[in-house]
Symmetry: D2
Amino acid sequence: MERIGLAVVGAGYWGPNLVRNAQQTPALRLRYLCDLDMDRARGVLGDYSTVKVSGSLDEVLDDPEVHAVAIATPAGTHLKVALQALEAGKHVLVEKPLAANFAEGRRLVETAEERGLTLMLDHTYCYTPAVRRLRELVRGGELGAIQYLDSVRINLGLVQPDVDVLWDLAPHDLSVFDAILPDGVTAESVAAHGSDPIGAGHACVAHLTIRLTGGAMAHVHVNWLSPTKIRTMVIGGSNRTVVWDDLNPGQRLSIYDRGVDRGVARTADREQALISYRVGDMVAPALTEREALRAVMAEFADSIADGRAPLTDGHAGLRVLALLEAASESLRAGGTFVDVRQEILA
Amino acid sequence: MERIGLAVVGAGYWGPNLVRNAQQTPALRLRYLCDLDMDRARGVLGDYSTVKVSGSLDEVLDDPEVHAVAIATPAGTHLKVALQALEAGKHVLVEKPLAANFAEGRRLVETAEERGLTLMLDHTYCYTPAVRRLRELVRGGELGAIQYLDSVRINLGLVQPDVDVLWDLAPHDLSVFDAILPDGVTAESVAAHGSDPIGAGHACVAHLTIRLTGGAMAHVHVNWLSPTKIRTMVIGGSNRTVVWDDLNPGQRLSIYDRGVDRGVARTADREQALISYRVGDMVAPALTEREALRAVMAEFADSIADGRAPLTDGHAGLRVLALLEAASESLRAGGTFVDVRQEILA
Amino acid sequence: MERIGLAVVGAGYWGPNLVRNAQQTPALRLRYLCDLDMDRARGVLGDYSTVKVSGSLDEVLDDPEVHAVAIATPAGTHLKVALQALEAGKHVLVEKPLAANFAEGRRLVETAEERGLTLMLDHTYCYTPAVRRLRELVRGGELGAIQYLDSVRINLGLVQPDVDVLWDLAPHDLSVFDAILPDGVTAESVAAHGSDPIGAGHACVAHLTIRLTGGAMAHVHVNWLSPTKIRTMVIGGSNRTVVWDDLNPGQRLSIYDRGVDRGVARTADREQALISYRVGDMVAPALTEREALRAVMAEFADSIADGRAPLTDGHAGLRVLALLEAASESLRAGGTFVDVRQEILA
Amino acid sequence: MERIGLAVVGAGYWGPNLVRNAQQTPALRLRYLCDLDMDRARGVLGDYSTVKVSGSLDEVLDDPEVHAVAIATPAGTHLKVALQALEAGKHVLVEKPLAANFAEGRRLVETAEERGLTLMLDHTYCYTPAVRRLRELVRGGELGAIQYLDSVRINLGLVQPDVDVLWDLAPHDLSVFDAILPDGVTAESVAAHGSDPIGAGHACVAHLTIRLTGGAMAHVHVNWLSPTKIRTMVIGGSNRTVVWDDLNPGQRLSIYDRGVDRGVARTADREQALISYRVGDMVAPALTEREALRAVMAEFADSIADGRAPLTDGHAGLRVLALLEAASESLRAGGTFVDVRQEILA
């Protein structure tokens, strides 16, 4: 099979990771690292690389040996860069979030579909062994009916100048929810509370409450100001509850046979609710350690080769965008629940 | 000094702890354990006790050697039991929450004040060495301006038949907030989100967002369904941030010199916001290990002897009640912010 | 069934725990707390107790309603106190270690056997739910062949004036080894290394290496000077390895299907060793929380009532003594391996 | 300044890390990756590298643009490869251990000294920010007199075919001891206990007890068979005790003001030892996160440029070898203490 020629666009924070992992993916042939700041691109590649540096997106897209583009530029530029790439007939892998807003994201999805090109989101966490297993546990039914989800992602983080903590961090949590929830369970409405205690100009601490189809509640806590780092997600089910602690490499997933069950006792003259408690064992499944971004690259290459949608396709990116937009509207409205757009999200 | 004669009312979940700690408090003389179910009371005292069992509150209150009553009955009975005790001229220590609603609580506070009697809340956590230190750190100014508070109290807990998880667990968090926040910083409004995935009839998982005077946000997460136990509070300040992990006996408090600072750079033609990061040391102060309920008993005895208000007096109980009532109203209203009553809360 | 009349002797560090748990054991009737320092004994019982205080062991042993004695005096007095009790026809529960040396311990075992009385060691850890399960896992064969044991018990501990850290702390580890190892696997020899960096007059830090029947090695690290507290035991088996972390109440036991296996590959001309790795799941079994000392009391009462040997009988105490004596001899000899006495240890 | 031309020899387990870090060190110019298995070397460099692959050490050493060699071949080959490099006038960085035995190591040290070349050990841990700080804490006197050291390095590790667990893992611990201990404090004798429960042909679990100048004891526990990973070192001092937990990135060092002090009380007629306990705060100093191997490369380049001995020079390597040899002798002798060679170790 011929290797897929790839250009990485953007040599900032995330670009170097794309460059490194692309080079380790046999199905890809990295041809360019493209950045307006060519010195920065050269610095990323180092002194020993045969990969070309370019300061011109036009030049890169004109090269017929470039079949695909991986975009790691700021979200505000995604529409322009990705659209130009798609219109040049290139497959596109794009950093989260898909675009600066839902309308722009939808335009990218539509363009990719019209042209039969792959549009994939780099929802990196969805490709970790832990989330792969979470997806199996939830969708395979082992957890039972999903009762609640709770995600905490706090750290002393880089305060972004252009986006708030919701747009910066919550896409991670929301894309994982999107990947693991069963078909037919989607976010219906969301309420967001935030605060900006340091005067950054936008929320640095935020809480999202999401109402899912069927009534379960999901909650996300993101925080740039925490002195300690926590990255934990709990998914409560009627049969099992699983805790994902991404900072515990020796025990990332813990599956608990613990919970509260409600039954009904029927006596001669009445029915009575009975609460019982399961206090069973915990199982921490063995997971292979693997760099998720390597799997992202492989999925990108495979979906291009097979002409199929990737696991995290443009629609997944659009669903995350729809949630973020509704959350921002809730934030502006003082925390009321706001409906999440459901159009073309299937 | 003569010892203060005490009766404990209620031999259920918490009463035995009151009995045990009262017996170890030199300033108190435990005379009765009172419960309608006298066998239960006898079981609590065991086979080797000289403390009297009574099934009659009247009998206990008629005894002139009983000067004070500690009440550990369900919240719905607090008004009746505590009122009767106050009207009999007895000092009262009452389990949280003060009463079933704000109006009942206010009546107790007013009655105690009219009669010059001590009315104290058993906000046990406020008497732990950790919260004592938190109070000093916050009120003494070491943390700087308070930027946010975040409290998580989740566990596989007893699903209560008569109250939801907010009324069951959040009084702990709210009473600690009340004890440590500086004078003049109070809860202005609260939004509550909850869910009842097991069909218990009321919320088993809940999130509170509280707007404080001055704009800081406090958040509380309480959950009866979690397979793992977490009891953590983070208090973010402009100078230091402290993490209280109540389940880590060797390091309950961690004080971080880490955070985000915002300054302003003035150049010839403009002002520009500058974000800087402090990444300094962490200090875990040595704390003595001491049973908090012992300190509750000592404070109750001392405040009676000195004729002064205890640290957690009726007003503190009333402020917690006001917050809980507003939270319940928010829950019913679908999560909107609801103002917290501020009357006679000083 | 008539309740067994009990006297607790010794109101120092451990005595109060015996008093409290005896009172909560229905099969026992606590009659005396006996201590030369009667004020100390009165302080332990508190102001509300009907239990008698005595300053005279003779008085206590003369009382025909005392059928059994629980001894919590210093080890150096065990021979005298326990012998007097046995000779008075009383069953005896004694704190670890059984006696100050092997000869004294043997005399107690022989006396109890001659008189048909129960002699039980308060090897408290052996009665925790965790060690009960460890015993099942090891003796039931689930772990496979035992490959190694490793126990760490370090803390900022009370530096004892009369015994070194080995005699103070290692009895815990050694009694657990004794309780869980399969029949026929015993300590054959032991080497001990110790140091006394603070000039206490005896070892404050010590390491034991024990050679077991069959060749497996057990190691014990005890330390009075550590600023952090660790109480962990690892038991490596050919099928499973279990880690017991006594300070993690939510996950005291972790059973790992992880390990190294050695096979042999036979090719035409030679045999070759093959190393393979199992990297399977971990299971943390659900354990009930129960105070071990309550189970000690129940076992003491049951073994008396049934006329059978308790789980931790005098022979178990003697085996621990034999190991401690050999370890002390090794310490004096500069760390060489010293054989452990095997006489009447069955 | 001209960049130092470097060749990496050995493309196995560790070589790729040397290659990667050398490329990121401005003072170095990586010219070759040399391995008899040229395909393996090509695989390490990947498809995008301008670094040359060579299968011939002669070719590499003949190149006048190669000034230095970094050796990551098995220990048994160190003498041959390093000697050839030194004789060709190249500076040498060599993986731990320096050589297969003391005699070979000494020959390398002598050869380097005769020729005025840098001979540096890749004792990687010594270049972590944590160990740098440990070195300051110990040698700067903040800890006071060193009372004991305890290092645990256990994991499910690769069972090596040619060396036992001591030679595989303990060099890490011993090289750290060597780097942090004050001048004049060295290992005088060592006792080693080991076991081989899987039939690997050499010890898979081992314990070292080391007697240091002045009487303090150091202990090392290394284990290939543990299902859990622990990498912890405790350094007890008379003023402070520090715990280094290398697996806790947020709190690698914890400095405790906790300990046991011994004083003397003088009364009219006698002197009495007084034991007192310090139970003060703990401080976790902020450490920068930095890849240690980057600092190794920088130190190698700097020591060449400055003509000075590196922090971990050949003598440090020789001291570690002397300890390992004595430990092996103790293992063979059944665990007795064996003196450590002190010749030319200054």
